[in-house]
Symmetry: C2
Subunit: 134 residues, 2 copies
């Protein structure tokens, strides 16, 4: 039943400190996408937001002790499916980033909360629930 | 470089027609989560929104002909990373669903746009960019 996923690219960023979450990040970096997907990037525009799905590639294996965790910025413990911890049953992250500009297969973004070298699994348009359009 | 992912559960829904997107869906169904993750669900509350990461398990393999696609509700073709097509380099979907209620390992949700039997990969809290909290 397992699913095989292959990165479409990697994050390039040289951050001294990784912001804990994209909602509180101004960090800039580059999504370097495999050139075979270049054509698929053509409609991404500066100023827009994109949803980036990525792998928490430095997380330890998940075990049941991580079902409840205390987030660093909260008092008290919470269930894993109510927090953004990188230690999850499947180490998949999601961030909403602002596109600064694009050069060929490089998407320059703001709002990073990922490590340098993070494998990127997908880029999607950011669509707000209220808008009812995509 | 490939990553192995294992579903944490499956969608149970009996929809006659699958809405094209969660932003335009009132469809109800159940996220049936593996009982080994039960404790991790404890802080999910009725009325809240959750981000559900899932597999497009019925999609054909991705090939370069799918880099540009015409969405059914748009004129013109767009790059894959600017649309929500289920035929993507990695067949990963993301929907924001409303939690109706929870019974043990079953999360009853509204806003479904997934097929019955869809493998669920992760559940995350829904956090709006402007709020700066999680």
């Amino acid at each position: 039943m397992s699913i095989e996923i292959n990165p479409i690219g990697f994050v390039s960023a040289n951050l001294k400190k990784i912001p804990r979450h994209w909602t509180v990040s101004d960090a800039e970096g580059i999504l370097i996408i495999d050139e075979k997907y270049l054509e698929g990037l053509k409609d991404i525009k500066p100023g827009q937001r994109v949803v980036v799905i990525f792998q928490f590639h430095k997380s330890p294996p998940f075990t049941s002790e991580f079902l409840i965790q205390k987030p660093p910025h909260h008092n008290g413990k919470r269930g894993i499916f109510s927090i953004c911890s990188p230690i999850r049953p499947n180490p998949i992250g999601m961030s909403v980033l602002e596109v600064l500009f694009i050069r060929a297969n490089k998407v320059y973004v703001k709002g990073l909360d990922m490590l340098n070298g993070t494998p990127i699994l997908d880029i999607k348009p950011y669509i707000e629930a209220e808008k009812n359009t995509n």
